[in-house]
Amino acid sequence: MIRDITIGQYYPRDSFIHKLDPRTKIIGTFIYIISLFFFRKFIPYLVVFGFLGLVIKTSEVPLKHILKGLKSIMFLLIFAVVFNIFLTPGDILWKWGFLKVTRQGLETAGFMAIRLVLLIMGSSLMTFTTTPNHLTDGLEKIMNPLKKIKVPVHEISMMMSIALRFIPILLEETDKIMKAQMARGADFESGNLIKKAKSLVPLLVPLFVSAFRRANDLAMAMEARCYHGGEGRTKMKPLQYHKQDGIAYVILFGYLAVLVIVKLISPF
């Protein structure tokens, strides 16, 4: 049960998108997300849809797999849509008791839904096509200028990659502790929410103890292997821009240009 939790899992393929430099993908995703929010018209979203569709197609990640990721935000989506429809003031289209639907409400809800779906699909596409290591490497490289204002960029990215490495180990451990306690009569399944939450306490305590012990061991092992921060450290897999990254950037700016033009000329 607990092993089903997956965090933006990498989907191994050998596509054009997979081979891009992580920096290209991070910057691309960032620009894409901003582009979602700079208009309040429906037609430009067709451009966004088209662009996203194209990227998904080249990434060779099946659409079904990406849509699965939307399940987790379903609740949030419905919540946002319902509230926007009923609570936005404006021209009343339909009224029943204290519930009223307005034109503005429908519009806002529609934009909200489209933006959320596009946002999740786009950003999950990045994690599907980039290994966690590449992602942290890319982030480290992008944030590098922040070193000048004393942001511990290397340390942050090291922490992130270690966290990613230990997620499966800690999940396995949780599973083990749970089984051990179930074997001795612990009940994690029945009862109301409060009772369920309480039954997690005997699970969390040993988990924390073991996580700290692991952290201590790992720190010692890292020091024993001469780890002393980012200073004077070389990279086994240094990031390098290739030709395809140039192409990707050109396409990205093409997309932005088309979007701006459509925004200016479209009536809706």
Partner: protein
């Protein structure tokens, strides 16, 4: 002077109360003298609390001597400036394979040490390949360490140390958490590295079977070195070993019991084959 030399090495763990007053001193290492030659395979045996792990931590400059001196590859461990040279000369493999693998992919983990040393990218790849080859894990280079067995993980950890090109590898109970097959796998790898790559090996363990192939065995008890010599010499002293709460290999014990009961079997039998041929001779 050998690659590792300790002179009257003492280490005390000091327990303090909240105000910082000393409430107890635990002498974990007491007047240790060792001298280990380059290229040797040395095993350190001892019961829990005998000080063997404390000694291991000194060899990697994780702990500093309270008294006495320890030289690793000629560097004095007490001097702060030597710390990275020492850690590069004496690589350390720990007990729990999960808690010492840093990378999310096997080859990246092996590359972690050289990266820290500031080795050039091309050279890192070469070293990673050679080290994985040496421990027989080359075909797993792009796997996730989570999917490997305990023995395989431990071999990856050894490769990670080998990639730093150390003079000496210290293994602190590397097999304690493994199943018998994994144990054999790791010990085979270690002795192969010692033979073929000429690395000095210091194996800390409490499994007797693992030390039979060693050049020298050191037995520790309560922070002191109580016995040392070739495995054959040490294992003939069955009674003495038992006093230090150590077992002898089953075959050796059987041979010892048989001899005690009047059969003409020579001392220092270490393998099943030896015992079989001795019994057949009778």
């Amino acid at each position: 002077m050998g690659i590792i030399k300790a002179k009257q090495l003492v280490h005390e763990y000091i327990r303090r109360d909240e105000e910082g007053n000393t409430i107890g001193i635990n002498r974990a290492l007491d007047d240790i003298d060792i001298d280990i030659k380059k290229g040797d395979f040395v095993a350190i045996l001892g019961h829990n609390g005998s000080g063997k792990s404390t000694l291991a931590k000194h060899l990697n400059a994780i702990l500093m001597p309270t008294e006495g001196t320890l030289w690793v590859n000629g560097y004095d461990t007490k001097e702060e400036d030597n710390i990275w040279n020492i850690r590069q000369s004496a690589g350390m493999v720990f007990q729990n394979p999960d808690n010492q693998i840093i990378g999310t992919i096997v080859e990246e983990d092996v590359g972690f040490g050289p990266e820290n040393l500031g080795v050039e990218t091309k050279e890192i790849w070469k070293r990673v390949e050679e080290s994985l080859q040496a421990v027989g894990m080359l075909e797993y280079r792009s796997h996730s360490p989570n999917k490997l067995s305990g023995g395989q993980k431990q071999r990856v950890a050894i490769a990670g140390i080998m990639a730093m090109r150390p003079e000496c590898i210290v293994l602190d109970e590397p097999t304690a958490m493994l199943d018998p097959n994994g144990r054999k796998e790791v010990i085979r790898t270690i002795s192969q590295l010692n033979r073929e790559e000429k690395v000095t090996v210091l194996l800390i363990t409490h499994y007797m079977e693992e030390v039979i192939g060693a050049d020298k065995v050191i037995v520790m008890d309560e922070g002191k070195i109580v016995m040392q010599g070739a495995p054959r010499e040490v294992f003939t002293r069955v009674e003495e070993l038992k006093e230090y709460r150590l077992d002898v290999p089953q075959v050796t014990e059987l041979a010892y019991e048989l001899r005690k009961n009047g059969l003409a079997i020579p001392e220092g039998i270490l393998t099943v084959d030896e015992l079989v041929s001795e019994i057949a001779r009778l």
